[in-house]
Chain length 491, copies 2
């Protein structure tokens, strides 16, 4: 495996992690956390549930860490439970609250832009007989507030989930008004506070979760807060550890380190926030001017201070990450949690945004102006390099599939007599590239049909037409599993 | 909270963890693991699933750790999955194999002396509609082999669970013959190898689990091995991390440290095994001579080299731990995993052994002769100190409850006309102490009834009668929830 050197290639940075602009995927272990980890490994290695001397010393360290985290989150210490990850905390929060509220009903309500862990928990709930309702978002990724409140306060709703801020585009959700409405209705609101907690306030909702990796704690520590008076039952096999909230003995040294990092990072992040927010404004303003066909996503104002996402047309996201990585820059693309699969980011799809060529920039507190300038300097070249590597687009109309002997699957009638661009077998971003190159060849007012079987094409062709002022008339699924997208040239 | 100093009080030890005789509850982080943890925190902090430079460096470290563990366990690297704890590995092993084998049936078979995590997983399986069959053990804690094979090969059995060696008494299970029979029958055997793996060989079963805390790795790392060709499906909400085996990003630095510790500790343990086994033989031989009414449990030969359990009559286990802790000795008592509750160790109950006054000694590799001599020197004094603190036993027969105005609940007829010792409201070990003090007052051939509501009394009175050569004639539950135990004096 080819591993780049740990030193960033970024020549203009002074920080050892300069060029690392992927804070929302986790930041390095904070220096105070590294110290705490080493010290607690000496004194907190034992199972805190034991009656021995080492066990009691572990328990004292664990209690102190819990008190510290509780103070920061403005909750009681006995409301804080440590889990093996932020993802596991979300699973426990969602399914445990549903189980505790079983008498109220079996419906879960959540927004369309939650972390994949919420979707996985919801899938599990459905496959165990429960009901799930997903509420959509606007173009900026902000949940439809009235619809969310209406859905969450219907009879039979056991719990609702809403993130504090979106992890891909940074848009903050209307937590206060939704929280107040749900409180009045007696429906527990579960808040995924992972990305908000570095910079912002802890939620006041009955249940919320966080992940220590985002604030410089070690991997292996999630936080689940269940406020007193909230019904919660462990949905998985229980255990004595963490009062039944954790599967097995907790990792005391890692928890101690996470608690130390939370304090230190929040302090640094609070000082850095105005600067980081200015950098983000800078990126939002300059990216569209630096490159053709780039669009910035998410709410420009009601957002996390340190995070922005933009999309570059006709660019493969993973190839762009690689190009940027070669230049010493680390960022994410699309729904990074699902980038191994072919499915596009569910967040970007829900927003109706272009999913291809997506770049998420999330700034750690130490980011300097030099880091931003360097990033903006190398970005256009990286995009150009990826675009230059693209396979040639389809330049001429393909024969109509019905008459094409090489096409084994018969096509459904319903195809118009328009020209056909056959992008089947071509992956994101090629279908929209094919469309973009072909459309100028048809007359204004005429139509072209794109045949594509890439799952991202459905949202990307729609988003591209909206961006370019063209008209997507219909999409019809074909017997071979592909879809036919009928696009009219408007200008 | 009163915390003793980290330095052991044991004056005769040279090792910094001398006096720590609780290896089966976890050992301190191994020195090589501490080094590996610090190094990997620098280079392995990022999510190994990311396409960035830091992500790839994490992935390289994770791959290397997986290869190393796989080599030790004599399995393929892609059969090794890291989980957040040994307990979580057991939950995943049991419920995932059951789910993967759903078409074969819904019955789980396991021994009566498994780790509590197996019982919790089995409870969960039952509460989700599954069937569970528990197979008993002999006096030494060894599972009834023929019965286990018969039960596990019946139609409708999806999976069977058997530990490699018992965690409380050290008895090794007949894995080879049971493994062969189940392999022939096509029923997957899941082996909890946690306690065997420090000293012994990895199982050859289709599924097995381990816990890094037992070999000097950090808390937060369990191992689940699923051999190729074994059907397994994640029973909980899935996630992309660890190919769907782990809920959330894995803790790469902790895994790297665990892999380093496994190699180092197994090497040290192999060298230490003959010495430790001699120490255990020593304890087994000398404890009964050092104190009245002490009995050593478990198989004397087919056992782990480093572990032994004995019970001291008329002693409260937790009080004895405290007395030993004051003398710089750390050990466990009973089913330490359930010591918070009032229920006695299910392992000791299944063996028909006395559950009160139980001490488990488990030796880390560095244990010296001086540690053992010191332990055996202070043990009798600690036991005497606990016995001296006991409340006075009941010295005279209680009035018959029917005529006792202070007893609110009416007693069921069926009580004999024997004398009655009313131990209701008195906790372990008082009911057997009351019986032991009272029995000499009745004539040989005559009977006494003990009334007790402590849950441990049922197994303890039976075990005491067996040990002392007296006869337990019957036990009858009473309307007030207590039980009446009718004991005949034989000698």
């Amino acid at each position: 495996m080819d591993v780049p050197p740990p030193t960033p290639l970024n020549p203009s940075t002074s920080h050892r992690y300069g060029g690392y602009l992927d804070a929302a995927a986790g930041v390095p272990l904070h220096a105070v956390a590294a110290e705490a980890l080493a010290a607690a490994a000496e004194d907190g290695w034992a199972d805190p549930g034991r009656l021995t001397g080492p066990g009691r010393r572990s328990a004292v360290l664990l209690d102190a860490a819990r008190e510290s985290v509780a103070t920061t989150l403005q909750v009681r210490a006995d409301e804080v439970h440590f889990t093996p990850s932020g993802t596991h905390a979300i699973h426990l929060a969602v399914l445990g609250t549903l189980l505790g509220r079983r008498r109220a009903g079996d419906t879960l309500v959540h927004s369309a832009v939650e972390h994949s862990a919420v979707f996985k928990a919801a899938d599990w709930h459905e496959s165990h007989g429960g009901t799930v309702r997903v509420v959509g978002v606007d173009e900026a990724g902000r949940v439809h507030q009235d619809e969310f409140i209406r859905a969450a306060t219907e009879p039979g709703v056991a719990a609702a989930v809403l993130q504090a801020a979106n992890h891909e585009v940074g848009t903050r959700q209307p937590l206060e008004s939704i929280g107040a409405a749900l409180r009045a209705a007696g429906v527990p609101l579960i808040v995924d506070a992972s990305h908000e907690l570095v910079h912002g306030q802890a939620p006041t909702s009955p249940v919320f979760t966080a992940d220590a990796r985002l604030w410089g704690g070690p991997a292996g520590v999630g936080v689940l807060v269940v406020r007193r008076g909230t019904r919660w039952r462990n949905p998985f096999p229980s255990d004595e550890a963490e009062s039944g909230y954790s599967p097995g003995t907790v990792a005391v040294p890692a928890i101690v380190a996470a608690a130390a990092a939370l304090l230190a990072t929040r302090k640094e992040a609070a000082e850095a926030a105005p600067r980081l927010s200015r950098f983000i404004d800078d990126i939002r303003a300059r990216v569209p001017a630096l490159m053709d066909d780039a669009v910035v996503l998410g709410d420009p104002v009601r957002r996390l201070p340190h995070l922005v996402t933009f999309s570059c047309l006709y660019v493969d996201g993973e190839a762009l990450l690689t190009e940027l990585d070669r230049r010493g820059i680390a960022v994410s693309s699309g729904s990074s949690c699902t980038s191994d699969t072919l499915t596009p980011s569910h967040v970007l799809v829900a927003m109706g945004a272009l999913t291809s060529g997506n770049v998420r920039v999330s700034l750690p507190p130490w980011t300097s102006e030099a880091d931003i300038e360097y990033f903006l300097r190398v970005l256009p070249g990286a995009v150009a390099a990826v675009r230059a590597q693209l396979p040639q687009p389809i330049n001429h109309p393909a024969p109509r599939p019905e008459t094409n002997a090489a096409s084994p699957a018969p096509m459904r009638s319903g195809l118009t007599t328009s020209d056909i661009v056959d992008s089947r077998g071509r992956r994101c971003p090629l279908p929209i590239l094919d469309l973009a190159r072909y459309l100028p060849q048809v007359a204004v007012g005429a139509e072209v049909t794109v045949l594509a079987d890439d799952p991202a094409a459905a949202s990307d062709i729609a988003a591209w037409c909206r961006m370019q002022g063209q008209l997507l008339l219909s999409s019809i699924e074909q017997p071979d599993g592909s879809s036919a997208y009928l696009v009219r040239r408007i200008r």
